[in-house]
Symmetry: C2
Subunit: 348 residues, 2 copies
DNA sequence: CGATGCGAGGTAACCGGTTACTTCTGACGT
DNA sequence: ACGTCAGAAGTAACCGGTTACCTCGCATCG
């Protein structure tokens, strides 16, 4: 045993009276070793409580790296479920998977990516909405090249592609289509004044949901009203605050709400409730994501294949499927948060 | 550059026209290097897109290891919030943190712990309820010794201590007290027939909550009725199924429900709802954990300091606080899911 | 009976860094 | 002019494994 108290393979070899190579072989189990010798080694390993050093191991032999998923926060169900899909598929593929969280801080994202590069992770999966500006593009392009140089694959999940020549894989889902469908659902229930709660100009996810919302309105001949598009971050608190402020301004002026995601919907429902407006009797509401709390709220929403998103990201990273950008479908889940408005034309 | 396409420190040294030691020193920044030399090295690093190999680094120099938290599933808010606390504190302490999930499978737990040993993680935090039997005790004792031998610390979070001489730290919270308090809350609202939904004999968390439930009943002179203690796993589905089955058997025979956790409560509420029983008008219900969805349900529940639990685990692991078993307090959060039963004595 | 082959185990190079120790260079003191 | 010393850079040992290659002994075969 070294002075530090750490047991090395040489200690085991000494104790078993064999060479280090033999110990290594017994442990690997891929080389013929006499039963008697093997026993001596196994006994020495047990007696010394020996654990091979993973770093030394990784240094000499190339072995599969871990699969890492990087998200803002694991406390947001949306991310948690994608992470779960990643874990499941990684386990299936015999890989360890790690979840790392950035708290939405680009600085931490940077140091995590650097760390994963150094760890020679097999794949790094970056999840979550972003502001699609030049800074972002530059940052991701750097990540992509740096990771590629370190032998890791970069997968962007729910983020826009980076363009030709950048070594990054992409898996996403249909934001615009889902938003269109759920808006159309409200429209065909007779709603015309639909508040979109959750604008975040520049944010890709929000932008494409707004696009679906607008296109559905247009399709039904309903003019878009900027006053019905309200900003809010994708959190419960933001949804609550935004709805509260809106209600404080005067009469609602809308009969239905399309919340940018289920968290916003949940906060908005609380604000409505505190204002004496019942869902769906007074106000109809729909969300997006279909995370489990939506079930408790009886919220009509758009279902995202969270699990499948994570699994697909892993399969893509490991080259199990062809590399083209993968776009998964979404579908609307009808629960009890939308009430048909009846034949009467809503007042303008 | 090596044939494999990987850039090593020697490639950088060659390109910069200096020795590997100089490159290492420039990167470490802790040794005087002429500005001109430094520039040559920096340029070479940039041109080659060099990333030091973390394994090689870890092998020669001792550096802080990562902090790992191992949970059943990150999709359960209870775990997600504890993990978040761990991440936050780890970031504060300048450590990387990893979340690993087992899916509740002891086999995967074992391989994850083995892997973390090999990675020489600085701390391994094991979270979650368990069956406290000899098998468990043996397994944990082995983990504890093996991790200690590898220089890692083991922290049990929300699990019972292992006894003297086992190198494991413990941080928990007051299950019995919280259960007692919330049961007393129901009792003082006039409820006498309180269904405990979520028994799991042998499971430490469940057992101590049941203990609190019983002691509160006893204190109020209400005899315990085994028919009012119903088994259910700690999941939404289990809560739903158990309540459905119970209601199918005949008239409820209870006026209030104490759900083993908020997930069970959420499932039970859905089952009650489908059976035409309203909360809290017909049936009162309380939960445990106070995870955010409880807010949407307007569920009266017991608040756990999830964040603080995670943070405390990290501080304990890093020796920032004294080692004695740390028990955090809980408190009841009153929302709208309990209705006073009024002066009339409920029928037996 | 000596050559051949093969199975078991040892030797040492190597993975890619860090760092103690050594060497070299030039400024400075006498 | 020569010895001293400090600063900058190089040399090589080391971290703890893996594995290509080599050696040795014994059974098999011509």
């Amino acid at each position: 045993m070294t002075p530090s108290g750490r047991v090395t393979i040489r200690d085991v070899a000494r104790r078993a009276g064999v060479s280090v190579a033999t110990v290594s072989r017994v442990l690997a189990g891929d080389y013929p070793v006499l039963a008697a010798t093997r026993n001596k080694v196994v006994r020495a390993v047990r007696e010394l409580d020996y654990v091979p050093n993973a770093h030394a191991r990784a240094l000499s032999a190339a072995r599969p790296g871990a699969i890492a998923i990087v998200v803002d926060s694991v406390a947001m169900p949306y991310y948690a479920y994608i992470a779960q899909g990643v874990e499941e598929q990684a386990a299936l593929e015999g890989r360890l998977s790690l979840i790392c969280t950035t708290g939405g801080d680009p600085g931490r994202e940077l140091s995590i990516v650097r760390l994963l590069r150094e760890q020679r992770a097999e794949a790094v999966i970056l999840v979550g909405s972003v502001i699609l500006d030049d800074d972002y593009r530059k940052r991701m392009t750097e990540y992509a090249h740096a990771l590629a140089a370190a032998g890791s694959r970069l997968v962007l999940c729910g983020r826009p592609p980076l363009g030709e020549g950048v070594p990054a894989l992409v898996v996403g889902y249909d934001n615009t289509g889902g938003a269109h469908a759920v808006t159309a659902h409200l429209l065909s229930a007779g709603h015309r004044r639909i508040l979109y709660l959750g604008q975040r100009p520049g944010h890709t996810t929000s932008d494409s949901r707004v696009a679906g919302y607008r296109s559905a309105l247009a399709e039904h001949g309903v003019p878009a009203d900027p006053a019905l598009e309200v900003e809010a971050e994708f959190s419960r608190e933001a949804g609550y605050d935004a709805m509260r402020r809106r209600l404080a301004e005067g009469p609602p002026g809308f009969t239905a709400v399309f919340a940018g995601n289920d968290l916003i919907a949940s906060g908005a429902i609380q604000a409505l409730d505190e204002h004496g407006l019942r869902v769906p009797e007074d106000i109809s509401i729909v969300g997006y994501d279909d995370v489990p709390p939506a079930q408790d709220l009886r919220l009509t929403t758009v279902h995202l294949p969270h699990d499948e998103l994570g699994r697909a990201a892993v399969r893509l990273a490991l080259g199990r499927v062809s590399a083209g950008p993968l776009i998964l479908g979404t579908h609307i889940v009808v629960r009890g948060s939308v009430r048909p408005l009846g034949p009467r034309r809503p007042s303008r």
